[in-house]
């Protein structure tokens, strides 16, 4: 089993590839089907943001070995796109641009255990989420 997987994100097909790899990795680590779906869904949303707003970026999937044999999956979604001007605003529930769910970041946060975001205007965005096996 690969411990570190990288998927270049540029098209809608890459979104499917990324979430499929995420699901496979989750299955290999014996996450439950439900948890694997949460992980795959989070990856899908993050990859989608890259395609929509940054045109291209990278998703990295890492296996984590935590304390007392605890295992987890870390997803790092990184792009060199326009960045988010107001991260606080983007993380507030109900934030929307043109009536859509916007970046859907509050939603993604609910799917995972740990959520971190770094973004600056014109300096790209990096979202890091982690899901631990209970």
């Amino acid at each position: 089993m690969e411990e570190d997987i990288q998927v270049n994100i540029q098209s809608d097909q890459d979104i499917v590839i990324a979430r499929h790899k995420g699901r496979s990795l989750a299955a290999a680590l014996n996450f439950s089907a439900g948890e694997a779906t949460l992980i795959a869904t989070a990856i899908s949303e993050l990859a989608r943001n890259i395609v929509t707003y940054a045109k291209k970026g990278v998703i990295r999937l890492k296996v984590l070995n935590g304390e007392s044999a605890r295992r987890g999956i870390r997803v790092v979604a990184r792009d060199e796109g326009p960045g988010i001007a107001d991260v606080e605003q983007a993380l507030r529930d109900g934030f929307s641009t043109s009536g859509s769910l916007g970046l859907g970041l509050p939603g993604v946060r609910r799917l995972v255990d740990e959520f971190q975001i770094e973004s600056r205007r014109n300096q790209g965005t990096t979202v890091t989420v982690t899901k631990w096996k209970p």
């Binding site: 809608d12 795959a40 989608r48 859509s100 769910l101 939603g107």
Partner: protein
Amino acid sequence: MEIPILRQGKVLIATLQAAVTDVDLMRLRTALVQEVVRGRSRGVIVDVTAIDVMDSFASRVLQDLAHMIRLRGAETVIVGIQPDVAFAMVQLGLRLESVATALDLEEGMDYLNREFKTLA
């Protein structure tokens, strides 16, 4: 990947496969609306049993699809959303408002038949 559309009387049935891309979904939306017009269909069933992830885009396309089809005088039912997928959708805040849902193909057909009777 093209998604096949089956015709069963006045109902169209489209079955999605697991690796459906954004482009596939948008093509399906267009094709279904065209078929509804062409065949004067009264109902559309979109079967998502094989879908393992429903994200914001898929949710939006399905809502648009239902809306466009309703403008053509037909009713849409989404069937087969899996329990895990439903749970993830709700976490993301995707509710598929104003779109009918049913457990499976059979229930979807029952729903449409009831609707047809009411509207007749």
